[in-house]
Symmetry: C2
Subunit: 162 residues, 2 copies
DNA sequence: TCTAATTGCTATAGTAACTGTAGGGGCAAG
DNA sequence: CTTGCCCCTACAGTTACTATAGCAATTAGA
């Protein structure tokens, strides 16, 4: 069994030293043993654990999901359904981001293609950014499609000069 | 020219009231006129400006880039090159995210397909998360590929019990 | 006209998931 | 023994907002 300093663990796991300490403070990692002088001592199982965390984070799971997965791991009797549910949820999120990014790529390509070195005044990139109408990115999830009812007058308060 | 309250502006632009005020504090939006009682007064040009900001943010540009684009817009004599550069940079970032997300989607699909309702002990989702070797997500940009030189002993300090 | 509901205001704190800084101590090599 | 790197804690900063508290203004309904 090899013992590792935090720096060695960082190099082996690909997780930065400061991040390892951060994971300890938020309880993702158990508090490790210490030397007499107070330096942390890690083992290969910490490399495993950190690799798991890192991989899961790289897959885009939020830290709370990582925490949930770890606790599931600890209790091997539970069924796979929770894990599956978390993974499916994540897959949905990934697909939504993917769709949005694809539209975004197309939009940027279109904008760049249209930009041919004129002045800003004639630059269609800025025009495209200001113009929602021919936007390829559909997922503006706010309320700009929420029409303002014509009954609402454009002057909000009675004492305003409109 | 119609005058708008902050709430009306929020509905028209799709940017939340609190976010509008936030944009004002960080200087993305000029300080608007006020009524005698202190309420903000906006106009259609603010709708334009906010739509621009929102669209640009939706495209994934960081706020600082939005700020840069706005200042470029203000100076119509400058050439298009800066705008083009910012957009190209953004396109690169989008493509990197896209590649990673695609690998990620494949990985998740693979994991879910392998999860067939057993117990956690036999669940391959957790196994896949712990196992880097057959991972489809290549972009672990840390140092786990940085081999630990065999010359380095695994005991970091001479006084450790290894 | 009175009142309740909505909207607005400021200021401050909280969020995620870290990263950076200050100010110190430990450890091996030349 | 000193140079230089690694480690420690504690706290502040980051991004782009969001939430909360506590209050004032405005509007809509009875």
């Amino acid at each position: 069994m090899a013992y590792l300093s935090i720096g060695q663990l960082a190099r082996r796991s690909g997780v930065k030293v400061t991040t390892i300490r951060y994971y300890e403070t938020i309880g993702l990692l158990e508090e490790p043993e210490r030397t007499e002088s107070g330096q942390r001592i890690f083992t290969d199982s910490d490399v495993q654990r950190l690799s798991f965390i890192r991989h899961t984070r790289d897959l885009g799971f939020p830290v709370e999901d990582v925490r949930a997965l770890i606790s599931l791991q600890a209790d091997a009797e539970k069924d796979c359904a929770s894990v599956d549910r978390i993974a499916r949820h994540q897959l949905g999120a990934v697909r939504r981001r993917l769709t949005k990014l694809e539209a975004l790529e197309a939009e940027l390509k279109r904008m760049i293609a249209a930009c041919e070195g004129g002045t800003v005044a004639s630059c269609s990139v800025l025009a495209a950014l200001g113009d929602h109408d021919d936007c390829l990115v559909g997922e503006h999830e706010g309320a700009e499609l929420m029409a303002v009812p014509p009954s609402k007058r454009s002057c909000p308060y009675s004492d305003w000069r409109c």
